[in-house]
Symmetry: C2
Subunit: 198 residues, 2 copies
DNA sequence: CCTACCGATCGGTAGG
DNA sequence: CCTACCGATCGGTAGG
């Protein structure tokens, strides 16, 4: 028994299937089959397919929020006022959360559409707040001359969708490890935004 | 009768619904309802839901292929050897195709997973060839010193997913028109890739 | 393009 | 966690 809980194992398996086929193309029987149990047996551990989706989306959102908050705090204290270092830390943290669980990340990015209206509204608020961190940091960097003058909304969308794209193609056994990918993405992001110097 | 054909109207309505909810969360009755007809009546014009998906994916792929080929040809003849101008033209063409039909673009980017194995394999080949154009252009630009030394695969993925993200948020009535968005995206892309000069 | 209908599969429940 | 089963909905067909 390696799994901490059956409930968690169900969410993990569902996350991978939702990533590959999408929420509504995945049946509860598909999830059960991956665990070698009967479809109906799932309901001893979860109350509905919708609740499994919510659990995945919620934990993914929480991970993005906490990891990036910690990273920017660290950057702010180790190199205070350095907007480029702060943004690089934000980008790296985001990339690391995706690579740690690409299934969850993919579901968070794409499958929130399948949530019921109440939960969808709640997750959209959190997503907007999260994206706001990127926008705000770009805005501050423009203000102090670190980043060149540009549209923070467009630049934020450009960067965030580029980062989120990793969830679709990343494989743990791939050519590049998380660190190298994070290096490249932080570099490309800073290049796109940083003002020319000298 | 504004529609050139009923078949085309079905595809257009399906494209929007597939964009919003995904292919498998959209029923044939949903498509029919948007056209104010009965679900079964669709089958007077199409042979299956799967064929409607294929028609959308195929036409989207074709549009990306032809628009970017034309744009790079134009750039290559008006400013020969200018890799930056060529890449900018490629980016602009891609953005314009997305904005011209974000539904088709979204379906092309995300819903190809729902295709049957044969068609999925066929579209993946075309997608890989298409993405190869971006990679190759980056590679050539690195070769002649226009672009800085970097991983063309990673840089290509970064840029293409950033561009494709537009399909998810673009609205014709939005704050910025297609041209302004294309300006920003071409600029951000070139900044991310271009070697420092002087 | 409609009504009437088909078998298959869906998410989920009852009762062990 | 299983068997047996439920009503609803799915994509699609027959026959006008």
């Amino acid at each position: 028994m390696v799994e901490p809980s059956r409930r968690r194992a169900i969410e993990d398996v569902a996350s991978d299937l939702f990533r590959e086929r999408g929420y509504s193309a995945t049946s509860v029987r598909d999830i059960a089959r991956a665990l070698d149990i009967q479809g109906a047996s799932l309901y001893a551990h979860v109350t509905s397919k919708a609740d499994v989706l919510w659990a995945i989306v919620d934990r993914a959102a929480t991970r993005f929020e906490t990891a990036t908050a910690a990273a920017t705090d660290r950057a702010a204290s180790s190199s205070p006022g350095d907007r480029a270092a702060e943004l690089a830390a934000l980008v790296r943290a985001h990339v690391e959360v995706i690579a740690a669980d690409p299934g969850d990340a993919m579901v968070f990015v794409h499958e929130w559409r399948a949530l019921d209206p109440t939960r969808r509204a709640a997750i959209l608020l959190r997503r907007d707040a999260y994206e706001g961190r990127f926008r705000d940091m770009i805005q501050r960097g423009i203000g102090d001359g670190t980043f060149r003058l540009t549209d923070p909304s467009i630049a934020g969308a450009f960067v965030l969708t580029a980062l989120n794209g990793i969830a679709a193609w990343y494989r743990p056994e791939g050519r590049l490890g998380v660190d190298r990918i994070a290096d490249h993405y932080a570099d490309l992001t800073l290049r796109a935004l940083t003002a020319d110097h000298d």
